[in-house]
Structure formats: structure tokens, C-alpha cells
């Protein structure tokens, strides 16, 4: 069981001071810069006018009635259903009833939806531009050599992650190249930003990614969705409800369930 002799590479000790620290510092500073840039670029959420608010909340109201119909007694549920159905079908809650039946406006020409898209674009840009710049900076200046050795052993799988830009087959995966250090910084500085900027800061890329994955709430009233269709769909949903009330037989449940 002979030990493989540890690889030794003689490095300039100044690598630490002139490469490792600068990359880390630059990463932190750009993170902070990005945070403030996105704070500055942020537009205040647009104020809804009364009609839009009515349109959205009436729909929500219908959804609530559909979801919680069981708290109502049968007559009051039926009364509500009739009222809601009539209002939905006649389009009483629509923002502009004249435009009923027409195809929804092209989201590109609608200024209010344009604004939302611009906001998304701005955020994306604030992410992409600095990252590209720094990566090309690192590639231009520091690529092609290893800068540090990790103090713990690693398996061969980590080689591609840690030695990007250094194509040597036999080198121990503990050696790390500058571009890999950059990637580590991207993913590892999250908690540092949390510490400096407080939670839910704009520099947290994870949150942004999550936001892109689940834009469910925005989708409902997003541009390009025809509210009239939504209302009509809701009418159908209400119509198929088989009403039962949670109050049916509640005394019996109570008498059986509670022991004195």
C-alpha cells in the first residue's frame, strides 16, 4: 500500500495577494453594486385604477366563493351564485365593457404591459452585464494557471469544476484555477451578501431564479389574458358546484366528537 507521493507545484506566493483576493473583492463589490443598481432601476409598482382593481378583485371574489362555498347555507350560496353569474356574464365587472369579444390587445403595443417587460429586462441586464464583464476580465488576465490548492482531498469528479481552463489530465483535483474560483464566488457569496445587505437583497440571484420559475400570481392578470374569458370560465366553475354545507349535521358531529 504505497502512498502516491503528493503532487507539489511551486507557486509564486504572491498569487494569493494579487489574484485570489482581487477576484473575491471584485465579486463582492459587483454584488453590492448590482444590488443598488437594481434598487435604482426599480420602478414603483404601478398604481391600479379603480376599474382594473374591480376587475381583478371581482374575479378573486368569485374564486373565493367557489372555494369556500361550504361555509354558506344553501339559499345564500345560490343567491350569491346567481348574482355572480349574472354579473360575470353581462360583463359588469369588465374594465372596458365595449371591448368585449375582441381579441386581446397585443401585449407589445400596450404600454402598461411594456413597462412590466422592461422591468424584467432591466433586472436581467443588471445580472448579465457585470457577470460577462468580469468573466472576460478574468479570462483575459488570469487564465491558464492554477492559483491555489484546496486543503482537503477531492475525487476526480471535481476536476472539471475546479480546473476549468487548465487542461491537464493528471493533475490532482485539489488544484484550482482562477476561473473556477470565480465560479465558486458566484455561487458561494450568497451568505456574504445576506450579511452585508440584509435578507432578500437584489443581489441574490437564487431568488431571481426562483422568481422566474414560478410567476403564477402574475400570470393570472398578466397582459394578454382576456378577463372576459376568465369570468366566463369562472361562471362555469360556479355552475358545476354541488353545494353542501359544513353546517349540515354539525350538532351531531359536535355531540359525538366532544366528551365532557
Amino acid at each position: 500500500m504505497a502512498q502516491v507521493p503528493a503532487q507539489t507545484i511551486h507557486r509564486d506566493p504572491q498569487l494569493f495577494g494579487w489574484i485570489l483576493l482581487p477576484i473575491t473583492l471584485v465579486m463582492i463589490l459587483t454584488g453590492i453594486l448590482r444590488h443598488y443598481a437594481s434598487v435604482l432601476l426599480q420602478t414603483a409598482p404601478k398604481r391600479l385604477d379603480q376599474k382594473t382593481m374591480r376587475e381583478q378583485r371581482s374575479l378573486l371574489h368569485g374564486i373565493n366563493v367557489r372555494g369556500n362555498f361550504h361555509v354558506l347555507s344553501r339559499p345564500s350560496f345560490i343567491a350569491r351564485r346567481e348574482a355572480l353569474t349574472a354579473a360575470y356574464e353581462s360583463g359588469a365587472y369588465l374594465k372596458d365593457p365595449e371591448r368585449r369579444g375582441q381579441p386581446p390587445a397585443n401585449p407589445m403595443s400596450d404600454p402598461s404591459s411594456m413597462e412590466g417587460m422592461m422591468g424584467m429586462m432591466k433586472n436581467q441586464m443588471a445580472m448579465i452585464i457585470p457577470n460577462t464583464l468580469i468573466m472576460s476580465w478574468i479570462n483575459a488576465f488570469f487564465s491558464g494557471y492554477v492559483i491555489m490548492k484546496l486543503p482537503f482531498p477531492l475525487t476526480i469528479k471535481f476536476k472539471s469544476m475546479l480546473q476549468a481552463g487548465v487542461a491537464t489530465r493528471d493533475m490532482d483535483p485539489r488544484w484550482m484555477s482562477s476561473i473556477s474560483w470565480y465560479f465558486l464566488c458566484i455561487f458561494g457569496l450568497q451568505s456574504v451578501f445576506n450579511f452585508i445587505l440584509g435578507d432578500n437583497n437584489a443581489a441574490s440571484q437564487m431568488a431571481q431564479q426562483m422568481g422566474q420559475m414560478g410567476p403564477q400570481t402574475g400570470q393570472m392578470f398578466g397582459p394578454g389574458v382576456d378577463p372576459d374569458k376568465q369570468f366566463l370560465g369562472e361562471v362555469e366553475n360556479l355552475a358545476v358546484i354541488e353545494h353542501y354545507s359544513v353546517l349540515d349535521g354539525v350538532e351531531q358531529r359536535l355531540l359525538e366528537g366532544i366528551n365532557v
Binding site: 374591480r54 378583485r57 369556500n68 354539525v250 355531540l255
Partner: protein, 328 residues
């Protein structure tokens, strides 16, 4: 123990409100008078937590209530300094302070005009709309308040608080059916709120016992009252208010028993007299247990409101004495 400053103080007793407002100087002293929103300050560890602003807001309310105007104005100034004059919530608080300062009806009218002006600029300012309605109600202009509320609910029908206020206004005016409708809307928005179920039960009971009710409505309301109270107990073990209501309703039903319940399609009918009796027994037993344990200050039973427990005891004693009188 002083109640926490982090919860809205509107349901506190005067004594507790006084306690809270007496904390004002310490709170105001211990936190910096201005917190700048500049990015540099955010880098420093002087943390600005959302709690602080909630504290200020609640402190403002308590101080206004106890007449400590100076502290109230200080709180308001800090809130304005942080959030600016055109924040909707701050606007409502400002209106509140003005209302409290107003000496006579003329000034109130002026405030009302200001509210109208604000709403003219932006008719979706819900906090100000609510203040305006509250002011109208405070000036005994109930029908106006009700119609404004209906208008608010017309464009924002998912506001449970507003529905609840509407129910209360209707109730004060004796319009029970409308009040019940509004309260049911609250339930639609918060289906598991046990206190709302109990409140609806109380409303049904009031509607049933109001003078000049048709017998059909009476039975229907009583039946639904029983069901609402039962549901509130089902949602919350040992709910004093629910048991109190259940006891009240079943007692009344047993007293004027004998009328056969009419079956009607789709509506709730009264349960048979045996069930009512059993419910009555259950409520009596539970109420006496709660009273006993709460009076003995047993561990884990100290959360009940003293006045509510006293009322429950009164109800039981009354019934016991009535029963004794019959036996004699």
C-alpha cells in the same frame, strides 16, 4: 404584564392602553429619531426592522387614545420622515391624528373635505377610504357610511375587514338580513375564523329574537344560530363564546318548545328537541368546567377574558335559580 407593542391595540382595555402609552418615552428615546433611507446607512449595522414601524404605529394609536398628543405627533413625524407624505398608510394615520385633535364638528367637516379631496386625486386609496367611512360613522351619519362602504366593496369585494364593518353598521341599524349577508361574505374570505362563526351565530340569534319576526324566519334563524355556534366550537376547542351562545340559544328553544319544526327544502331546520336538550347539557357542562378552571387559575386556563367568564357564570346561575324556583 404589558401587552406587546407589535399587535394592533384596538381591542385593549383602557388600563392596558395606558400602560402601552406610558412606554412611549422609552421607545421614542431608544430608537434613533431619523432613519435615513440612503444606501450608505443600509451598509451600517444599525438595523431597521419592520417591527419598529409597526411599533410606532401602535404606539401612535395608544397615545392618541390616552390623550398623549406630544408622543403621538412624534411617532407620526418619524413615520412621515421615513415613508414620506404620500404613503397611503401614513396618510390614514395623519388623518387619524387630525380627527383626534379636532375640537368641534366644523373641523371634522374640514377633515372630511380633505379626505374627499385625496380620494378625488386617487380613488383607490383604500386606507383613506376607510378613514372617511369611520369618520362618517363617528359623526353619526350611518346611511352615508354604509353607502360609501358598499361603494368600496363594489370595487374591492375581497376586503374582509370592510365587509365586517358593513355588517356592524347594518346591525346597529337593525337591518339583520343585510348584516348577516355581509358577515357571510367575511366567512367566504376567512372560512375558518371561529370568532366570525360565533359572531354570525349571535347575529342570527339577534335576528330571531328581534320584535316582530315571522315564525318561519324565527325558526330558520334559530336553527342557523345553533349551527353557527356549533361550528365555532368545532373549529376551536373550549371556545367560551361559542358555548355561551349555544347555551343561550338552546335555553330559549327549550323554553318555548313544543312547536314542531317545519321541514323546508334546502334550508336548515331545527334539530329535534332531544338533540337540543343534549346540546344544552353539553354547553352547561363545558361552561361550568371553563368557569371552574378559569376561576381557579389553573395552568393553561388563564387566557379567558374575565368579563366573559363572569357573564357565563351569571347565565348559569340564573338558570339554576330559575330551575330551583320551578321545583319549589
Amino acid at each position: 404584564m404589558a401587552p406587546s407593542l407589535l399587535h394592533p391595540p384596538s381591542q385593549l382595555s383602557p388600563g392596558e392602553a395606558l400602560q402601552l402609552s406610558q412606554q412611549a418615552p422609552t421607545v421614542l428615546q431608544n430608537s434613533p429619531s431619523t432613519i435615513s433611507s440612503s444606501p450608505l446607512a443600509a451598509l451600517l449595522p444599525s438595523s431597521e426592522t419592520p417591527d419598529l414601524w409597526i411599533k410606532y404605529e401602535n404606539l401612535l394609536l395608544s397615545c392618541l387614545r390616552t390623550g398623549d398628543e406630544r408622543a403621538a405627533h412624534q411617532c407620526l413625524e418619524r413615520l412621515v420622515a421615513r415613508f414620506g407624505n404620500d404613503n397611503e398608510r401614513v396618510m390614514a394615520l395623519k388623518g387619524l391624528v387630525q380627527e383626534a385633535d379636532a375640537q368641534n364638528n366644523g373641523e371634522l367637516e374640514k377633515i372630511l373635505k380633505e379626505y374627499d379631496q385625496i380620494l378625488g386625486d386617487n380613488n383607490t386609496n383604500i386606507p383613506i377610504t376607510k378613514r372617511r367611512i369611520a369618520l362618517l360613522r363617528s359623526m353619526d351619519r350611518l346611511p352615508e357610511a354604509a353607502s360609501s362602504l358598499v361603494q368600496l366593496l363594489g370595487f374591492s369585494p375581497t376586503d374582509a375587514e370592510a365587509w365586517s364593518e358593513l355588517a356592524d353598521i347594518y346591525l346597529v341599524q337593525g337591518m339583520y338580513q343585510q348584516a348577516i349577508y355581509a358577515m357571510e361574505e367575511v366567512l367566504v374570505l376567512a372560512p375558518n375564523a371561529w370568532n366570525v362563526h360565533a359572531r354570525l351565530g349571535e347575529m342570527q340569534y339577534m335576528a330571531a329574537t328581534a320584535p316582530g319576526v315571522a315564525s318561519g324566519t324565527y325558526e330558520k334563524s334559530m336553527a342557523e344560530a345553533i349551527k353557527r355556534f356549533s361550528r365555532s366550537i368545532e373549529l376551536c376547542d373550549d371556545y367560551l363564546r361559542g358555548y355561551y351562545g349555544l347555551k343561550l340559544v338552546t335555553k330559549k328553544l327549550l323554553k318555548d318548545a313544543g312547536k314542531p319544526a317545519k321541514e323546508s327544502e334546502g334550508e336548515f331546520s331545527l334539530p329535534d328537541s332531544k338533540t337540543v336538550e343534549r346540546l344544552n347539557e353539553l354547553a352547561t357542562a363545558k361552561l361550568s368546567e371553563i368557569i371552574r378552571r378559569s376561576t381557579a387559575q389553573e395552568r393553561g386556563w388563564r387566557g379567558y377574558d374575565k368579563l366573559e367568564v363572569a357573564a357565563a357564570r351569571e347565565l348559569l346561575v340564573e338558570e339554576a335559580s330559575a330551575a330551583a324556583a320551578i321545583e319549589r
